[in-house]
Symmetry: C2
Subunit: 274 residues, 2 copies
């Protein structure tokens, strides 16, 4: 149950006087992913002030909980933070096609040196968006290639990586990447990284960027078309052939499936299962 029933006087007070609670703040952080130049990128901001000044961090901020400002729901807070950082308009605008889902909540004591912070992380899949503007006091904001962050399987950054991540954001980002890799297996969300119309080779490039391995073009093509509802044909053909030649690929739109069946499983995962 959400607040437990009163147990003694202090609990009674706590139920009705918020100030009697342990002090805690709630933030949202967003792992926003996109594909640029065939590589997976994440939106990061460089911190201007302490703590972790000069380090990079996921875009995020406090949830408007209802005191001085109108109470907002958690996904709304995530969209708001993303819109503020990217300079794009929210749900009704350019961010309308962005897929957003809750990733997880991070609340270990000490994860923020100032006070107890509970951070609800969201995961976003976006088509290619313009460069963000370093707004407010963020020293910088940019789409950063995920490969340049030196993430290890354990959620840390390799020593020597130039762009260091603040707080536990390396862990959050690692969790987001693993979630994204899995999501591509059994949902059609790879299309959220593409424009409204896309070719099968473009879709394959999304899979290759997120999974970090090349896929067999022929088998991928047949597989995508064989899964009901994954993509639907527009009937049109791209106006250009492949990058280094080849016939003009056909154009497709996202289909109406919410799950891929059968799934599109990552190759060669037998080893990493124990």
């Amino acid at each position: 149950m959400s607040p437990e029933p009163m147990r003694d006087e202090s609990e009674f007070l706590a139920s009705y006087d918020p100030r009697a609670y342990d002090p805690v703040a709630v933030t949202v952080d967003v792992v926003a992913l996109t594909i640029r130049d065939g590589a997976l990128h994440v939106l990061l901001v460089r911190r201007g002030g302490a703590p972790f000044a000069g380090m990079w961090a996921l875009p995020g901020g406090f949830v408007h909980a209802g005191g001085r400002r109108e109470a907002e729901d958690l996904p709304d807070a995530a969209v708001r933070e993303l819109a503020e950082e990217t300079g794009l308009s929210g749900k009704d605008g350019a961010l309308g096609r962005v897929h957003l889902e809750q990733l997880g909540t991070y609340g270990a004591p000490g994860r923020d040196p100032r006070m107890r912070i509970i951070s609800v992380a969201y995961l976003a899949f976006a088509p290619e968006l313009p460069d963000p503007e370093a707004g407010g006091d963020a020293a910088d904001a940019a789409w950063v290639p995920v490969g340049a962050l030196g993430l290890t399987e354990s959620g840390d950054q390799r020593p020597g990586t130039t762009r260091r991540l603040a707080f536990d954001h390396a862990r959050i980002l690692s969790d987001g990447l693993e979630r994204a890799r899995g999501k591509l297996e059994y949902t059609p969300l790879a299309t959220a990284f593409c424009g409204d119309e896309f070719t099968i080779p473009e879709l394959r490039a999304v899979y290759e960027a997120v999974w970090g391995e090349e896929l067999h073009a022929g088998n991928f093509h047949r597989k995508v078309l064989s899964v009901p509802g994954f993509v639907e044909s527009t009937g049109a053909t791209s106006d250009r052939g492949g990058r280094r030649g080849g016939p003009r690929p056909r154009l497709y739109r996202a289909g109406d499936a919410r799950l891929l069946h059968p799934a599109l499983l990552r190759p060669g995962r037998e080893e990493e299962i124990r």
Copy 2:
């Protein structure tokens, strides 16, 4: 980033004076599942006081955030609440074999009529445990058959259901059940519902209770044994045959796999995919 950098004076104050924040509290709620008499059960408590007095709720309570009490991590809070409700000892005791994972965070404004509450929900898979004791001010506590709660696909309860769930706990429970159904497909966590040693028919009963459909005994048996690391033989044989006759099944332990490969997919899901 977790607290965003200071942007103006109020933000500056907010960064260092917790009392300047919007008042918000963080709780954990636990969807604890087990199998009893071949049916899936969830641990619920009946509320003694307002709001929602007399209704049933998931066990849960406030996270000790570090004010008056020592700061605790979110999973520790979930284990503590589970231990308090079940009367069993925590990580080192009877709850040691319980699987616990984060389910999601629920923070819509108004979900608790008293104040803004952010609730981090956890999902637990437990072997059969004793009946809980209605401790503290909970009017009652019990393992309740999930089927008796009249949950609909949309996360509500059917009208006429006698046991009503408080807050948004019907939604949280529905999400937990759907997560559990999926987890059994691609992880060996069905073994978390069994004792240390179990038979393949017992394991099949877990799948049937969670998925709500009968499975083909022969194919299930061969499938479980063919997935590397799912189960390992103890060499022993159960001392009794099947409920209504039959040979004595062999005993197995949980294996070392963390993922099932190939997965054990639910039959007949082609329809519910759009």
